[in-house]
């Protein structure tokens, strides 16, 4: 998995170079998902929470080219760093002017369907051609587009964003064919204890909240021990076929801060470089990526990871119908 994790990281880093902590996190998550077969599910397959499609593209075997990144369509201003919520997303902007730069697909394989709850995600994901069809879905409602027992495999990397997980899991159970496979992830109950947010009371004002940007909400809402997850799945008549932990707390520590605080100035820097020309932008990006690979490379390598003593903070599950 170590080598695959590094390959995924390098591919994602081209897309996410200004946010390498995200590339690092996703590389750990996607390599675990790959080993659970999430990138090679039997058709008809469904990706639930496909976001902008970049992670889908990568887990389906796509190689992100150096010249592509996700930052040409971002919104920021001089106070972006003080708006601390999950809703305030830098990436909500969609622009036809830059749509061509996203024409890097299709990847070698496809999901039959992609589902997301943001229009911007659906529009961006459509460009990458990682899904046969894309569905905009309203959280808290049934997956009414899909018939009973119509899907063979579900990859669901974002269920922990949901308020009503029970409804989502019931819908997975309904649309999944007999013998079908679900691969999903969820935070461990211990994740909140490893988040910066736990230090909030020690500092004045919104400082920790501005670093956290609302991420603790998902961990508080849906952090569970393995037994608690298993219980939740079984309530929806889904059984755990296989389980592993991933993401050592030391890697999570890097993700907790990363380049997130400086993201808006970095976006402005990138815009300036783009105005200066592709040569200027790519010259910086090349050196940037070299430095990041040096800095974060060991945090992808099993040999190093074995020495980390912290707990694994995330779960990955393979589920199927309970008999």
């Amino acid at each position: 998995m170590s080598n695959r994790r590094s390959l995924i990281f390098k591919s994602l880093l081209n897309a996410l170079w200004l946010r390498p902590e995200s590339a690092l996190w996703y590389a750990h998550m996607l390599s675990a998902a790959h080993s659970f077969g999430a990138g090679s599910l039997s058709a008809p397959s469904l990706e639930f929470g496909c976001m902008d499609g970049v992670n889908s593209f990568v887990i389906l075997g796509g190689d992100v080219p150096f010249k592509f990144d996700v930052f040409s369509e971002t919104s920021w201003d001089r106070t972006s760093h003080t708006r601390s919520s999950l809703r305030d997303d830098y990436y909500d902007k969609v622009s036809q002017e830059t749509a061509d730069t996203w024409c890097i697909g299709p990847p070698p394989r496809q999901f039959t369907y992609g589902v997301d709850w943001k229009e911007s995600h659906i529009q961006k994901a459509a460009r990458l051609q990682a899904h046969g069809d894309l569905v905009l879905w309203t959280p808290g409602t049934p997956l009414s587009t899909f018939d009973d027992a119509s899907i063979s495999g579900i990859w669901a990397p974002n269920i922990y964003w949901m308020d009503d997980l029970g409804l989502v899991l019931s819908e997975f159970k309904r649309v999944l064919k007999s013998g079908g496979q679900i691969v999903t992830i969820g935070p461990d109950a211990a994740l909140v204890d490893h988040m910066l947010y736990r230090h909030g009371a020690r500092f004045d004002g919104n400082w920790i909240a501005d670093l956290d940007r609302g991420r603790h909400v998902n961990a508080q809402r849906n952090g569970r021990t393995f037994d608690e997850w298993k219980f939740l799945f079984e309530k929806s008549r889904l059984g755990v076929v296989r389980h592993e932990g991933f993401l050592p707390s030391e890697v999570n520590d890097l993700y907790e801060v990363g380049f997130r605080p400086m993201f808006a100035p970095l976006l402005q820097m990138r815009e300036g470089l783009q105005v200066a020309g592709d040569g200027a932008l790519h010259s910086v990006k090349k050196i940037w990526i070299e430095r990041i690979v040096m800095l974060l490379g060991p945090f992808l390598d099993n040999e190093t990871l074995y020495n980390f003593k912290g707990p694994l903070l995330w779960h990955i599950f393979e589920l199927t119908h309970l008999e």
Partner: protein, 324 residues
Amino acid sequence: MSRRDIQDIFERLVVPLWLRPERALWDAHAFAAVRSFLRPPHDFERPALDFGCLDGFPSFVMMGGSLSIDTDEYADLVGGSTAASTSGDYFAVHRPDVASTVIQSPAQKFSVGVSWREEHLKKAARLSFYDELHLAELADPLRQYPKSAFKTIWSPNLPWCPEPQLRAILFDHVRLLAPFGRILTIVPDTRQLDAEIFAKFQFMPKRWLSEMDRGISSNLTRNARSDLEWRDFFSGVGLKVLRHERFLPQIVGATYQIGFRPMFPALMEAYGQLRQHDTSQWREVKRHWIETLVHFFEPLCDPMVGCNRDEKLLWHAYELSHVE
């Protein structure tokens, strides 16, 4: 020393050091401690020596100066090779067409600045903050100055010197110091040894450790001593402690040991490209960058951030004078 003192210095120092804010933060803690020795009735007395002035920015800001957004430590590197920014010795690069724009000069100036590179002195000269600047190996006595030549000696570079050299420098400081004059300096406590963040990562690949640390750990710990040991050491060269302040919370020390250093070559390339292509754009990026840094570094300007007792602070600032 208050949080406001540290924050004030940080906000002025981060203008020339914007790509390396961890240095601005570390220095702001150190300089606020030293500034506490320079308040009435013990004001700054001339002739004054800045021993190891580098490019002059640190002492200029410590003494109350402020610089325009156009001025920073990196302008000399723009258009050059990336070797200097990769090696980290960017102080050694000087471009004659670069200027420093001063918004406010300190009320008090140093009589003499000395440093060990010609390039440092050329850059320090831009600030009009020193009456004289001299090239000197810090290990060698400043023979050009007679006994008792200075009433104030600011000596921030003692921590980096191996012991025989450290002792020799202090003996020369004693010679240069006028009766009732004062030496101001900063040195590490033994707590710095326990605070070494890379000591906890010895299982990491050697290249990673070397790239991340770049010899800083050994610099920070080379002369680590307790307060009692430092007093004994100073006594051995004929100096007594007039005043003592502890500074540097562990979290600030850890921030300094990583900071933006690993990304400096890439940030420098970005700055160089922006500055070469569009003079207005880079200023706006820098303003935005600094506003964001000031916001996120503000709690780290607390002199006791993460500490409940000042004995836990990692460094000492001393005001020294001749033993009578």
